[in-house]
């Protein structure tokens, strides 16, 4: 029984993985990089690098908002967190669609100036590529990725069965041998990180499971379970496209707006009208001309008027402000300290309703990353009045009407994306992801190495060799080119985002052409060498082309940026080491020297 079973499993393992191995490599590599999605996006907008948190940050944000949006109904401030070092400001004007995001801007947390970042997809491009590839209908691409994931799952299970000596080969790497080196690298990376591989593949399989259901219309595009899930996911997608800023925060805002919307809007409208009434005769003359026009126009005209006044140097005095001259600045720093001690953690978002009035409310919500179960729509928050008194406190527990399946799905989702992870856990996930990537890559190489003697020159074999080179070494190079282009293309270039992404694919295509012509003449070494060198030089590029030098990053502990640079050094190091190993091996094959005696441990322990 054992022999035939093992043989069957080997067959299954080989063929289920070689067909989709190249796609899986791309999925693994981009997915692994996506653990640092925030870091990548941060690195790719160097304009933000000069920003760092100070005690005054929240006051600066408040001042900035009273300058740019004195008339808004509500303000929202995303404070800098571990995953983001700038301040996000957004506001909603009266009558605007509550579900759409209003105007927004990014602010330097140290100086309070607005940051005009370059146009880039940042880490989101790699993140989307991870499960939707590029330039394909979304539903189709997800189905393809789901099928590849299934092949991966089959490969993992059959791999466990076919691996004869899991325990005795646990620590073994025989790099000197021709094919055993690849086999050992494949097995070691697979076995050591096996729990991670199983978890990541299984959760990935479930996350995209609805992409295999063809018979309902509304699940076609989404990746989640039911309709509710889809809605949440769509909101997240919108988030992902809009920028890396805290996904859950926005979900919370969305729900909050939906539930409170009616009541709040009513109040606000009254408040606004009152304030505007008090604006008095001076404004009356201007507005009377336009009163006949629809509301929207009134607002626009007023906006222009305000803008003019501001440019004339009269400061942010607005209609509302003039009515209530003596609004004291709220004790935001005290509120922040209180909220932080209440939730024992960082505050991610401050929502201000009716700003600059006496009945303003300040809602502080924490960043909730520390839970494995992130309940959708639950928002812990504490509300203060304009004078700094606590009005309301919301400490939501896990909602009880969650079904078992959606709860399990939530856990797997959180695990898959490592949302709860702090810096160290994130690095551990990243390392495990790198091991997975190496496992997939070496697996594909192994297929070719094992057949090299018998099938050299045959079409199928050569095709696999070319695709191996282009999809493994080529993709590494393409990612490096993507990062380099981000810094080298002029910041104001038109269609900048497209240039970056096109550069990525052009580099990939070039590597394919190179692989076709030089596949047996060291294409591996050349391509991996170039990719590795590009990755290793990224810190140099970083310090030369950013708004703040690397020294600045070290002084102000810009963890995001430093992590990115360290990550690039690590990846570059792995690529260069592999290139060197391949070069030595090629040299050995061409001119076999008498084998040098391997240093052994003999007698090392007395």
């Amino acid at each position: 029984m054992k022999g035939p079973l093992r043989k069957t499993m080997t067959w299954l393992h080989t063929w289920s993985s070689i067909l989709l191995g190249w796609l899986l490599f791309a999925i693994f590599l981009t997915g692994t990089l996506s653990y640092f999605r925030g870091e990548i996006s941060h690195w790719m907008t160097p304009e933000q690098h000069a920003s760092y948190v100070t005690d005054d940050t929240i006051m600066k944000a408040y001042e900035r908002l009273s300058e740019v949006a004195p008339d808004a109904n509500s303000w929202s401030i995303s404070l800098p967190t571990v995953r983001d070092n700038t301040v996000g400001l957004s506001w909603q004007n009266e009558g605007e669609n509550q579900r759409r995001r209003g105007p927004q801007e990014t602010m330097n947390a140290a100086t309070g100036e607005s940051i005009d970042g370059r146009e880039t997809r940042g880490g989101d491009f790699l993140y989307r590529f991870h499960f939707e590839l590029y330039g394909m209908p979304r539903g189709f691409a997800r189905t393809v990725v789901e099928i590849a994931t299934m092949a991966m799952f089959i490969a993992i299970l059959s791999g466990i069965v076919m691996h004869r000596k899991i325990f005795s080969d646990f620590f073994m790497m025989r790099t000197k041998n021709r094919s055993l080196g690849w086999a050992d690298a494949h097995a070691v990376t697979a076995v050591l990180a096996l729990p991670f591989h199983i978890m990541i593949t299984f959760s990935g399989l479930l996350l995209l499971s609805s992409s295999l259901i063809f018979w309902t219309e509304n699940t076609r595009g989404g990746g989640g379970g039911g309709g509710e899930r889809n809605q949440a996911q769509n909101a997240q997608q919108q988030m992902a496209e809009n920028g890396p800023r805290g996904g859950q925060g926005d979900l919370a805002t969305l729900t909050a707006n939906r539930t409170e919307g009616g009541r709040m809007t009513e109040q606000r409208t009254q408040g606004m009208n009152g304030a505007r009434g008090q604006d008095g005769a001076r404004a009356g003359a201007d507005t009377s001309e336009v009163r006949a026009r629809p509301n929207r126009d009134v607002r626009e005209t007023e906006g222009e008027r305000l803008g003019e006044r501001r440019t004339r140097g009269e400061g942010p005095q607005t209609a509302r402000h003039q009515g209530r001259q003596d609004i004291a600045t709220p004790p935001l720093r005290n509120m922040l300290t209180q909220a932080e001690s209440l939730f024992a953690g960082d505050i991610g978002r401050v929502q201000i309703q009716n700003p600059l009035t006496a009945d303003a409310t300040f809602v502080f919500s924490p960043v909730n990353r520390d839970m494995l179960m992130v309940e959708r729509g639950s928002n812990n928050s504490v509300t203060f009045s304009a004078t700094g008194l606590e009005i309301e406190r919301n400490q939501a527990k896990a909602s009880e009407n969650n079904s078992f399946f959606s709860a399990a799905g939530g856990v797997l989702h959180t695990l898959h994306e490592a949302r709860f992870a702090d810096a160290i856990t994130r690095w551990a996930f990243f390392l495990a992801g790198v091991m997975g990537t190496i496992m997939v890559g070496t697996g594909s190489v192994l297929w070719a190495v094992k057949r090299a003697k018998r099938q050299m020159g045959q079409f199928g074999y050569e095709l696999v060799v070319i695709t191996n080179i282009a999809s493994i070494a080529g993709l590494c190079g393409a990612v490096a080119v993507y990062f380099w282009l981000n810094r080298l293309l002029p910041a104001t270039l038109e269609n900048r985002t497209n240039w970056e992404i096109n550069g990525f694919f052009v580099a990939w295509l070039l590597s394919l052409l190179h692989a076709i012509f030089y596949r047996n003449k060291g294409a591996w070494v050349v391509q991996l060498g170039i990719a590795g060198a590009l990755f290793c030089l990224i810190p140099v590029l970083d310090t030369l082309t950013s708004s703040a030098s690397l020294l600045h990053a070290i002084i102000h502990v810009d963890v995001l940026r430093l992590s990115f640079d360290v990550m690039c050094l690590l990846l570059g190091g792995i690529m260069l080491a592999t290139a060197r190993y391949l070069q030595n091996k090629a040299r050995r094959v061409i001119s076999p020297k008498p084998a040098t005696r391997k240093p052994t441990l003999e007698g090392a322990v007395k």
Partner: protein, 117 residues
């Protein structure tokens, strides 16, 4: 932070014992000596106990759900380091083993030939 480094170091220690309990690596280390049954049992015992011991601080620190996953990832890192040492820096591994491998005193290989200098 202490929990983290504690887990990394202790699991490194236990993976060293796992590695030595493998016949092949044992031979590398002890001059072609085959591993005795008793020694194997002690090595494995020490390795399992210390490895599972590191699960406790992980769960205390991160809770059951995240704790187990983080623990698995962290011990993966130490296993990777042990693998790298055993294969690419055997001399340093031997040195570390002489320092840390308490099992040598509990179950010394029976008739190990003394190395004369």
């Amino acid at each position: 932070m202490t929990a983290l480094w504690g887990i990394l170091i202790v699991s490194f220690f236990s993976f060293m014992h796992f590695a030595v309990s493998v016949q092949k690596h044992h031979r590398d280390l002890y001059k072609k000596m085959a591993i005795t049954n008793k020694e194997f049992r002690v090595l494995q015992g020490v390795a399992w106990v210390t490895l599972l011991g590191t699960l406790i601080p992980a769960i205390q620190h991160w809770g059951v759900g995240i704790g187990i996953m983080t623990w698995l990832l962290l011990i993966t890192v130490s296993a990777l380091v042990v693998t790298a040492l055993v294969n690419f820096a055997p001399e340093s591994f031997a040195k570390l083993w002489r320092l840390l491998g308490v099992v040598r005193f509990i179950a010394p290989p029976a008739e190990r030939p003394q190395r004369t200098k």
